[in-house]
C-alpha cells in the first residue's frame, strides 16, 4: 500500500500553512508538556464531561473514549469543498426519499432497481403516499468521510437514520478551549458550539403547519440503558428540550401529548433517537415497550413531525449507497462533488467475477451489516477465510458489496510511543430544516490509535480529536 496522505506535513517536510503554528508548538512543547496536557484533558473529561462516565456501564466505572490533544485542521478551501458536497448529497437523499415514498420516478426511470427498494428491510410501506411537512425526511445526517489526498475526499457511508457522535464534537471543543486558550487566541477557529441552536432551529422549522407559533420539541430516547443515552441527555439539556421516553408520551385523537406535572402538553416535533422498529407497537414491533402506541397515526394525520422521518434507512443502505452518485445526477442534474468509494455490486455478474478474482485486495461487506460485522478484509485474511467467504459470496451475491482498501489519510497523534501518524476519518453533521441546510464547521474526527490500524471505531481502540476549520 502506498504511504498515506499526511494531514499535517507536505511531502517536502514542510507543514501545510494551516498547521504551521501547531508544528511549531509541538516542536517547542516537548514530550513532558504533551503528557501533562493529556493528563489534564483526561481530568477535564472526567470532571466537566463527568456525564460521559455516568452513562457507561451500570457498575459505575468511568469509561472515556480516548481523546487526542493534537487537533485535526481543515483550511477554508477544503471546508468549502466538503460542505458544498455534503449539502448536495443530503439534498439529493431527501429528494430521493420523497420520490420513492411518492411518485417513484427514479425507479420508473430505471436508475435504481425497484427490487433494491421494495425488498429492502428498511423500506416502510406505511410511508407511501404520505406528504411530509416541507418534504424533509432527513433532518439530521452524519456523513462519514475519508481522505486519500489533498483534494481526494470520499464518502464512506451515509447515516440518515439516527446518527450519533455530535456530543463528542461539542465536548472535544470545550476541552480544547480550556486546555489551549492560546491556540484559540492566535487562530481564527470557526465555532461549533452553535450546533444546539442550529439543531433547534432546524427542528422548529420542520414543525407541522398547524403547530403553535412556538412549537414544543422533545427528544425521544430508548432510555438510560441505551449506549447513546449520554448523548441524548446531553443534547436535550443543551438544546433546552425535554428528554422523553415512550411512556412519557401518549396519543389522543391523533395528537401526541407528553405527561407533565402540569397535565398533558401537546408535542409538535419529536427528535427521535429510537429506531423505526420500536416507534409504535401498533404498526411496527408489537413487543416494543419503548415506543408510543398511536404515534404513526398522529404522524400520518400530520399532527406531529418525526425527525428523522420513518423509513429513511432505505437511503443509507450499503447497496443503495452505490447508486448515490446516480441519485444526485437524477434529481439535481449535477455531478457529485463528493466521490463514492469505488464499489463493486456483487449482484452484477461482471462485478462478482472481479471480486472473486481479487479477494486478497478487497474489503467485502454485507449489504445489511454494520459496525464491522460480517465483513472480510481481504489483505488481512487467511487463504482459508477467503475461501470460506467466496463460497458465501457465490451463494448470495446480492447480499454483498466490495471496495478497495483505501490508503486513509493520517494525522499526527500523541500515542503511547510519542507523536506518530495514525489513520483518521471524519463525521460532519448536516442539519436540514424547512428553511435550508445547516452545517456547523467541524465534525467528529475519529482516529485509529493502534499503529497501522484502519479501524477507527471506539469499540476497537479508536479515539477522537477536535476538528478545526480555520476561518481565514
Amino acid at each position: 500500500m502506498p504511504s498515506p496522505f499526511d494531514e499535517m506535513y507536505r511531502p517536502d517536510g514542510q507543514p501545510r500553512p494551516e498547521y504551521a503554528f501547531l508544528a511549531d508548538w509541538l516542536k517547542s512543547a516537548g514530550a513532558e508538556t504533551l503528557e501533562r496536557r493529556r493528563a489534564e484533558a483526561e481530568l477535564l473529561f472526567r470532571r466537566i464531561g463527568i456525564t460521559f462516565a455516568v452513562y457507561s456501564a451500570d457498575d459505575g466505572e468511568e469509561r472515556l473514549i480516548p481523546f487526542d490533544i493534537i487537533p485535526r485542521i481543515f483550511n477554508q478551501a477544503e471546508w468549502r469543498q466538503l460542505s458544498a458536497g455534503l449539502e448536495q448529497r443530503v439534498t439529493a437523499l431527501n429528494r430521493f426519499l420523497a420520490d420513492i415514498y411518492g411518485p417513484a420516478e427514479i425507479l420508473k426511470a430505471g436508475v435504481v432497481p425497484a427490487e433494491l427498494i421494495y425488498c429492502n428491510p428498511h423500506f416502510r410501506p406505511e410511508m407511501v403516499g404520505l406528504a411530509l411537512p416541507h418534504d424533509v425526511h432527513v433532518h439530521v445526517a452524519g456523513i462519514d468521510i475519508v481522505r486519500t489526498g489533498p483534494d481526494e475526499f470520499y464518502v464512506l457511508e451515509d447515516n440518515v437514520r439516527t446518527p450519533s457522535g455530535v456530543s463528542y464534537m461539542l465536548e472535544n471543543r470545550e476541552v480544547m478551549m480550556r486546555l489551549f486558550p492560546d491556540h484559540f487566541a492566535v487562530n481564527r477557529i470557526a465555532p461549533v458550539e452553535t450546533y444546539p441552536d442550529e439543531l433547534l432551529a432546524a427542528l422548529v422549522s420542520a414543525a407541522p403547519g398547524r403547530a403553535a407559533r412556538e412549537p414544543t420539541v422533545a427528544l425521544l430516547t430508548p432510555g438510560p440503558f441505551n449506549s447513546a443515552y449520554y448523548e441524548h441527555s446531553f443534547l436535550a439539556d443543551k438544546v433546552g428540550i425535554e428528554l422523553v421516553e415512550g411512556r412519557d408520551l401518549f396519543v389522543r385523537d391523533d395528537v401526541v401529548f407528553m405527561r407533565t406535572t402540569e397535565g398533558p402538553r401537546r408535542v409538535d416535533v419529536i427528535y427521535r433517537r429510537i429506531d423505526d422498529d420500536f416507534l409504535d407497537p401498533l404498526v411496527f414491533r408489537p413487543d416494543s415497550l419503548l415506543g408510543v402506541p398511536g404515534l404513526m397515526a398522529a404522524y400520518r394525520a400530520g399532527n406531529v413531525t418525526l425527525a428523522n422521518s420513518v423509513g429513511t434507512g432505505v437511503a443509507d443502505d450499503k447497496a443503495v449507497y452505490t447508486y448515490v452518485p446516480d441519485i444526485i445526477r437524477f434529481y439535481l442534474g449535477e455531478e457529485p462533488l463528493l466521490k463514492n468509494v469505488p464499489t463493486w455490486r456483487c449482484r452484477e455478474p461482471d462485478a462478482l467475477a472481479h471480486v472473486l478474482d481479487h479477494l486478497d485486495e478487497l474489503v467485502v461487506k454485507e449489504v445489511a451489516g454494520s459496525g464491522g460485522y460480517g465483513m472480510l478484509v481481504g489483505p488481512a485474511a487467511t487463504a482459508a477465510e477467503r475461501e470460506a467467504f467466496a463460497a458465501r459470496l457465490k451463494a448470495d451475491p446480492e447480499d454483498f458489496i466490495a471496495q478497495p482498501t483505501l490508503a486513509l489519510s493520517a494525522s499526527p497523534t500523541f500515542a503511547e510511543s510519542g507523536i506518530g501518524l495514525r489513520h483518521v476519518d471524519l463525521r460532519p453533521f448536516v442539519l436540514v430544516g424547512a428553511d435550508g441546510v445547516r452545517i456547523v464547521p467541524g465534525g467528529l474526527t475519529r482516529v485509529a490509535l493502534r499503529e497501522g490500524s484502519l479501524v477507527v471505531n471506539s469499540s476497537q481502540g479508536g479515539g477522537t480529536k477536535d476538528t478545526w476549520v480555520l476561518d481565514a
Partner: protein, 314 residues
C-alpha cells in the same frame, strides 16, 4: 416538567432518606443490643429494628430468625430487600443517573461517589467497627447530597419534588420508630423507671439523632411524654411529624404557586399539619391513645403520598 422526571426525583429523595433512616435505626439497635441483657430486658432489639424500618414482614417471609447478623444483613445489605440500605442507594443512583440533567453536578457526584464507596462494603460477618464505618459513610453520602441540593439547586419544581420525597419519607419513618416502641412511652411506663427504660428511651432518640436536641429543648432527664412531644409536635425538631408537615405544606404551596393551581395534595397536607399544630401531647395520650394516633398518622401520610402521585406524578 415531565411527570416521570418528577417521579424519579421524588423517589430518589425518598430512597436516600430511607437509607439514612435505616442507617440510624441499625446504629441505635446495635448500641442497645450491646448493653447488658438485664438492661435490654431480654427484648429482641433486632426484631424491633426490623419493625421500625418497616421490614419485619418481608424479613419473616425469608424464614430466618432475627438476630444481629441476619437483621443487619437484611436491613443494610440484602439485595432481596428492596428497602435495604444498599438497595435504596442503588435505586437512588439509578434514578439520579436517569435524571442526570435535572440534578446539579455536585448532587450527582455526591450520590455517585457515595454509591461507589459503599459498594465496597460486604455484608457478610461484619464486625462492629466496619459496620460503624459503613453507617457513617451512608449518613455522609446523604448529608452530602442534601447539602449539595441546598447549596446548588435552582428553587424550581425539581427542587420541590425532591423535598416532598424527603419529608414524606421522614414523617413515615419517625412515626414507625415511635409506634414500634409506643408501649415504652406510655405514662404508666414512666413509673417503672430504671435502667431498662432509660436505655430504651435514649435509643428512640438516637434512632432519630436527637439526644442532644432533647436536652436543649426540655432541660430535663429523659421522660417519655417529652420524647413523644419532641418527635410528634415540636415544629423546631427537624425529624418531628409537625416539622415534616410544616415543610410538606410549604413545599406544596410553592408548587401550587409555580403552577397556578392546587388540588387534593395541598388540602391533605394542610389538614394534617393543622391537626398536629392544634394538638397537645396530653390529648394524644389521653384522648386518642398514642398507638391509635400514630396508626392514623401513618395512614394519612400514605394518603398524601397517593394524592401527590395522582396530582403530579402519574
Amino acid at each position: 416538567m415531565l411527570s416521570r422526571t418528577a417521579d424519579s426525583l421524588f423517589w430518589l429523595a425518598r430512597y436516600l432518606e430511607r437509607a439514612d433512616n435505616t442507617a440510624r435505626i441499625v446504629d441505635a439497635a446495635s448500641r442497645l443490643a450491646a448493653t447488658p441483657d438485664s438492661y435490654a430486658g431480654g427484648s429482641n432489639e433486632w426484631e424491633s429494628a426490623l419493625a421500625a424500618a418497616g421490614a419485619l414482614g418481608a424479613f419473616v417471609a425469608t424464614g430466618r430468625q432475627p438476630d444481629r447478623d441476619t437483621a443487619i444483613d437484611f436491613l443494610a445489605f440484602s439485595a432481596d430487600n428492596p428497602s435495604s440500605i444498599k438497595s435504596c442507594l442503588q435505586t437512588a443512583r439509578h434514578n439520579a443517573r436517569a435524571e442526570r440533567a435535572a440534578l446539579t453536578t455536585d448532587m450527582w457526584q455526591a450520590i455517585n461517589t457515595g454509591w461507589l464507596d459503599l459498594r465496597r462494603f460486604d455484608g457478610a460477618r461484619m464486625d462492629r467497627q466496619t459496620l460503624n464505618r459503613f453507617l457513617d459513610a451512608v449518613k455522609e453520602a446523604c448529608l452530602r447530597f442534601d447539602g449539595s441540593a441546598y447549596r446548588t439547586m435552582l428553587r424550581s419544581d425539581n427542587f420541590f419534588f425532591l423535598k416532598l420525597g424527603v419529608y414524606l419519607e421522614r414523617a413515615d419513618s419517625t412515626a414507625r420508630i415511635l409506634d414500634v416502641k409506643y408501649h415504652l412511652l406510655l405514662p404508666e411506663g414512666a413509673r417503672v423507671g430504671g435502667g431498662l427504660d432509660y436505655y430504651q428511651w435514649a435509643s428512640i432518640l438516637r434512632s432519630v439523632s436527637s439526644v442532644t436536641a432533647y436536652r436543649w429543648v426540655y432541660h430535663d432527664s429523659l421522660r417519655p411524654w417529652h420524647i413523644a412531644d419532641l418527635l410528634i409536635l415540636n415544629e423546631k425538631m427537624p425529624r418531628s411529624l409537625a416539622n415534616c408537615y410544616d415543610n410538606l405544606a410549604d413545599t406544596l404551596d410553592d408548587l401550587s404557586q409555580a403552577y397556578g393551581t392546587q388540588g387534593p395534595a395541598q388540602r391533605v397536607a394542610r389538614s394534617v399539619f393543622s391537626r398536629l399544630r392544634n394538638t397537645e401531647i396530653s390529648e394524644i395520650f389521653q384522648k386518642h391513645g398514642l398507638h391509635e394516633f400514630l396508626t392514623d398518622f401513618i395512614k394519612d401520610n400514605g394518603r398524601l403520598g397517593t394524592a401527590i402521585r395522582d396530582q403530579y406524578l402519574a
